[in-house]
């Protein structure tokens, strides 16, 4: 396990990548909604004639962004455990395994599911190690509770992604979803409120 280096460039890169992808999905939502509003206003029969095509285009644009978000989320998980070199190797293995599964089954969702399950298993290990107080896990958060919260939060995200990608028609959907909802909300609460940096002044003043 590597020594904690909470301000590493890799962490920053992953956070900024996440922010960029989330922002891009947000921008797509805005543009899509404005387009739909305009079409509803100007073409009375648009819902019958054009809505399905609109949905297809939105899905087409969103798909790579969602895949990228899932990949980045997966990369965020092993960073707690491994050094930069091992992290790169492990991330490459995860991406390769999911790509191979996608090609073998002809189904991108199946490949993403493999990727997410791998990420979930690693994140589960991270959460267990964090709860056990293991040293060497790299977190941005300072306090143990905040680290546990961050661990829960990421595990909740991964489980929710699994629900969306693979379990919507399954009987396991509701129980897995319920666990993800509790982890996401409870993890967010812990990550937000157990972190000491919220109380300390972050900047003396803003003048840049």
């Amino acid at each position: 396990m590597r020594e904690p280096n909470p301000r590493s460039g890799w962490d920053h890169l992953l956070v900024m990548l996440t922010v960029t992808i989330l922002g891009a999905l947000g921008a797509q939502s805005l543009v899509g909604t404005m387009y739909a509003w305009w079409m509803y206003r100007t073409q009375p029969l648009w819902e019958q004639a054009g809505y399905d095509r609109f949905v297809s285009v939105m899905n087409l644009v969103a798909a790579p962004l969602v895949v990228a978000l899932i990949v980045v989320m997966g990369l965020c998980v092993p960073k707690r455990l491994f050094t930069r070199t091992r992290l790169a190797a492990f991330s490459a293995i995860m991406v390769a395994a999911s790509a191979a599964w996608s090609v073998a089954t002809g189904d991108i969702a199946a490949g993403l599911t493999v990727y997410l399950v791998l990420a979930a298993l690693i994140q589960l290990a991270v959460v267990v190690l964090t709860l056990a107080g293991a040293r060497g896990l790299a977190y941005l958060s300072e306090t143990r509770l905040a680290k546990v919260g961050s661990g829960f939060l990421h595990l909740g995200f991964i489980l929710f992604a699994i629900v969306v990608v693979a379990l919507q028609e399954s009987r396991a959907m509701l129980p897995v979803f319920a666990v993800s909802a509790v982890l996401l909300t409870g993890g967010s609460a812990l990550a937000f409120y157990a972190r000491s940096s919220a109380r300390a002044p972050l900047l003396d003043d803003i003048d840049d």
Partner: protein, 322 residues
């Protein structure tokens, strides 16, 4: 024994009683909103802001109490007899934050936040007071919660009573199916009693966060940024949980539809994504220039919130009343 005529009479009496109490109440709410806005804007009156805010909150609470009474009466009156047995299948438990009552509840929640907040209250309260005044005035002038209550629900239930009173079996059966469907799968669901208030609490917190962000941008003081963050994280929790519990409900209710890209749902997801991006970006606030990114995301997130609310009324689709 269920009587459509007696039920219609009782319902009409209740709506008229609400109108009798609510008409002057709407005028008082509007007056309170105007006074509150004036006190918030005029510097010489600012020392009275706490009193004006407390008075407006008291008026809003009194109005909410009247609405609670109205909803209890609806629960007692608006029953649905079973088509086959004739026994009462159940009654409508209409949530307190739908249709004409949304803005009113939002105004009340924001007023309570403005009254209870501590950090930077001298600077933030005037902005929140303006928000409360705008929402309260909007509720009275646009939604009319007391004088034109729950238009969709009452129209549906009156149509149901009319069909039931016609004695035509086919009409009665169709009306029963529609009424029982909306009772069981919309008005009375636990989801409708949990999801909207969670979102309104989060909206109230986000308004406060936005006010602090505006002050941070204008005055360039980082302590406002911390206040903005505190309220944003407080709002993010009910927003996340509220939206999450909507997910399985949406699959059940809109199964087969492309509801992901429906206007309101789409914008809600955008709002959540932007607030997630804001809270993520804030992890690196100490990096040079990062406050600009964080401030931009905070403003964008709030604009997304406003757009999300407005979209309900502008863009047709699932989860919309346009």
């Amino acid at each position: 024994m269920f009587s459509p005529q007696a039920t219609a009479t009782a319902l009409g009496d209740t709506v008229r009683a609400l109108d009798t109490i609510g008409r002057p109440l709407e005028a008082v709410v509007l007056l309170a909103a105007v006074v509150l806005a004036a006190v918030a804007v005029v510097p010489t009156l600012r020392s009275r802001l706490h009193v004006a805010l407390a008075a407006t909150t008291a008026v809003l609470i009194a109005g909410e109490a009247v609405l609670v009474w109205f909803h209890i009466r609806l629960w007692q009156i608006c029953q649905v007899p079973d088509f086959t047995t004739g026994g009462i299948a159940g009654a409508f438990a209409v949530p307190l934050w739908i249709e004409s009552e949304k803005l009113y509840v939002w105004a009340l929640i924001l007023a309570l936040i403005a009254l209870g907040m501590r950090r930077h209250r001298t600077e933030i309260r005037p902005l929140l007071a303006l928000g409360v005044a705008a929402l309260a005035a909007g509720a009275v002038l646009w939604s009319h919660p007391f004088t034109e209550p729950l238009p969709d629900f009452l129209a549906q239930y009156e149509s149901y009573l009319s069909a039931w009173g016609s004695g035509v079996a086919a009409a009665m059966f169709g009306a029963y199916q529609a009424a029982e469907g909306s009772r069981l799968y919309f008005y009375n669901t636990w989801y409708m009693w949990v999801h909207p208030p969670l979102l309104f609490v989060s909206y109230g917190a986000f308004v406060t966060s936005f006010a602090a962000t505006v002050l941070m941008i204008v005055r360039r003081r980082s302590s406002f940024e911390q206040t903005a963050y505190r309220w944003a994280r407080l709002g993010y929790l009910p927003l996340t949980f509220g939206m999450l519990i909507g997910f399985p409900w949406a699959i059940l209710a809109w199964g087969g539809e492309s509801w992901w890209w429906s206007g309101k749902v789409n914008m809600s997801i955008m709002m959540w994504l932007l607030y997630t991006a804001y809270l993520h970006a804030r992890l690196y606030l100490r990096r040079r220039g990062m406050w600009r990114v964080v401030a931009a995301l905070a403003v964008l997130s709030f604009l997304a919130l406003v757009l999300t609310y407005v979209t309900t009324y502008l863009v047709p689709g699932a989860h919309s009343v346009a």
